[in-house]
Symmetry: C2
Subunit: 430 residues, 2 copies
């Protein structure tokens, strides 16, 4: 089933807004087995828009437009599609009622041009839009299915999820359904993960398995195409088992879950509190943890010890350590974690000390060298990392590694000293 | 001058990446006086791509492609454009040398297919790409100018800024040149700024003046179109003077400058150090400050006091204050700033305490209520804010407001107690 997506609007052509509608539609339609072959952006100009519609109808089975359904005179999509299909517009009372109810609920005066939005091409299926005044519309003409969607991304997504996708699944049952599941990894770089999964990625066609790097985490996405939801779920379960047999020890969560959320949940489940001593990350680990609503239940506080003076005076890293080993050392990291746990009075403490760059690196201590230590009831441990990237990337990778270390530690429940364990991380893996 | 932009690549049609190349090109070309009338996305399919090129050549004067210049067999843009223009490809030695030098510098083995990237259509102008192996290309055919650009956004921008835009300005001098200047504001919400600048925004056509909100700052962009750089600069100077007569007191910097950079520079110039006591921002203000290289010169450290216990024990906020006024109060903010300045030993300290939500708000202390205090040699001061937005937006707005307050304070040099000064901020202004 060939699809062309036409996004309209002068603000797109001026580069004032990014075309996220297209990305969303392309993703969702491809997942559902449609072949999105073309996407065209055109302004609110009748001649150009007519030509674009005719071309699309000539080369695609399904033509989807976004935008141009508003109340102004510049909104011409519905009128031009109706004209192309040789059909008239009529006042749809259901849509008219919805518009009037919605506007009066929002205390908006109903303008004469709002009635224009209640005009529907004869023979069209109305896709109800609970979130706005412009309904979606489906109109069949010959072998072409025209779908008109409202332009505001929030409204477009609502109409797609609640109306269009169920409609398309019913209309084209032969396409089957598509389901995805994402495994989220920590403590491993993208190329190492890719190497470990190489066999599966190369030989799997359904479900497919694909790797992505996003915000310091590695994502493994499994996508199954099946006749039913149950079948897709069973395929995903089987594939997940295969993938986790290889990289299961790095999986911290699934789908929308973030590392701060998962760590927070595990802390909460164990009734444990956490504190951070941050040097090179400058407060980022604490900030990420506190992005999660309710994090005040388990984050007690942190000390950003950006100078040696603060490391010594506030969290009691010894002057001997700072002088002899330096602030970026295993010893300093261990003392920072010990000190901040004592000062803040948390059950667990994590310290991060390293070189975020771009300056300050030496041969022995290059930019990207980061020590992360944990101190808790079970004792203490330190890991050494070599991150690559820009200053903010190194900060982000170090902060995520610290949360990952804390999560490992929580799940381990063992008294041991992991020392000088080297993990080469994303971009630094050779 | 009519422009069509063709973005190629299966990953675009799959919705795996957002088409930021188009947005960038549209913005820059419209600013330069070109009319971007169409944008088409098509996959790496020879027949479809050929048809799209032919259509574009029939309806635009300048056809710009992005992507499809890589070393793989799927990269077909250059070959198809050359075929359409009836010209051959030859091995360009300069490009070949650049590719080999770049790859050996990056310690990458040179594969046979890299040589494909050194093939250039006869008669084409090469747009040098310092950042990658695919050069940009310009090829004239009849009345159509074909411009081929590499797909990676970083490379595309490099080639545009350093090669394509200067080339186009020279080729189409009648379009004139475009220069922009951005004033960056703090301590004012978007709608208040819009109201103050309304007269200028409405009546100015050249230079134009436009408002944007980005990452907690308000941006005012002045754009002048002129025959020469000198003329544009003079127009921008005059316009900046007009704008600053209205909103000058809110301007903290220009163009690429960020608030953490400007605050850092002012601290450095005065040889002053800073510390933060963060509650609702959870370390974000410190993290933003330490995103700036060299910030260890003036950021001494911070305490994230996420619980009352830490506020009391670590930075000495009195139990009386916490019990009677609560952690979200002017009194607590002032004591936090005082306490952290003493504990960290900095010249200046800034505290932030508030409700980031989404839960925890009351009628008297709603979500978004934030107190920010400063303590320094001049004394102390507190400001009260009502931010709106999501949890992370409120965190971001509060952190930026704290940096803005510190900057004001540094520049004031006065001993005064600014108390209960209410600033309604972005989204909360009525």
């Amino acid at each position: 089933m060939k699809v062309e997506i036409i996004t309209t609007g002068t603000e797109l052509l001026l580069g004032e807004i990014i075309n996220t509608n297209f990305t969303y539609l392309a993703q969702e339609l491809n997942r559902r087995g449609f072949d999105v072959l073309y996407q065209t952006t055109v302004g609110d100009n009748p001649e150009r828009m007519e030509a674009v519609l005719a071309l699309a109808a000539s080369r695609a089975d399904v033509v989807i437009t976004s935008g141009g359904l508003g109340p102004t005179r510049g909104d011409i999509t519905k009128e031009l599609v109706a004209k192309f299909c040789g059909t008239d517009l009529y006042m749809n009372l259901e849509v008219w009622n919805h518009i009037h109810t919605l506007l009066s609920k929002r205390n908006i005066c109903i303008a004469a041009n709002n009635d224009k939005q209640a005009l529907v091409p004869s023979g069209a299926v109305v896709l109800h839009n609970e979130t706005g005044t412009a309904p979606g519309l489906v109109l069949e003409h010959g072998k072409t299915l025209f779908v008109m969607l409202p332009g505001p991304p929030f409204e477009l997504k609502y109409v797609c999820q609640h109306e269009l996708f169920p409609y398309l699944e019913k209309k084209f049952p032969e396409l089957g359904i598509i389901k995805s599941r994402t495994l989220k990894l920590k403590g491993i770089g993208e190329s190492n993960a890719a190497e470990m999964l190489d066999d599966l990625v190369t030989h799997q066609t359904n479900p497919t398995i694909a790797l992505y790097a996003r915000n310091g985490s590695i994502l493994v996405r499994l996508t199954a195409k099946a006749a039913s939801t149950e079948e897709a779920d069973a395929m995903l379960d089987a594939m997940q088992e295969k993938a986790e047999a290889v990289i299961g020890s790095y999986v911290f969560g699934y789908d929308g879950e973030t590392l701060p959320e998962v760590l927070g949940r595990e802390l909460l489940a164990r009734n444990r509190t956490i504190a951070f001593a941050e040097s090179c990350t400058g407060g980022l680990a604490s900030s990420l943890m506190t992005d999660v609503p309710g994090s005040s239940e388990y984050v007690k506080g942190s000390v950003v010890s950006y100078t040696n003076e603060v490391k010594n005076l506030v969290i009691h890293v010894s002057k001997t350590t700072l002088d002899r080993k330096g602030a970026v050392s295993e010893e300093a990291a261990l003392e920072m974690a010990r000190g901040v746990r004592e000062v803040i009075g948390s059950d667990m403490a994590v310290s991060i000390t390293g070189l975020a760059g771009p300056g300050g690196g030496t041969r022995k201590k290059p930019v990207g060298l980061v020590y992360i230590a944990v101190n808790d009831e079970q004792g203490e441990a330190c890991r050494k990392f070599n991150f690559s990237g820009t200053r903010t990337q190194i900060k982000n990778r170090a902060a995520m590694a610290a949360l990952g270390f804390a999560l490992d530690r929580l799940k381990e429940h063992t008294v041991q000293k992991i020392s000088e364990e080297t993990i080469n991380h994303h971009g630094a893996d050779r």
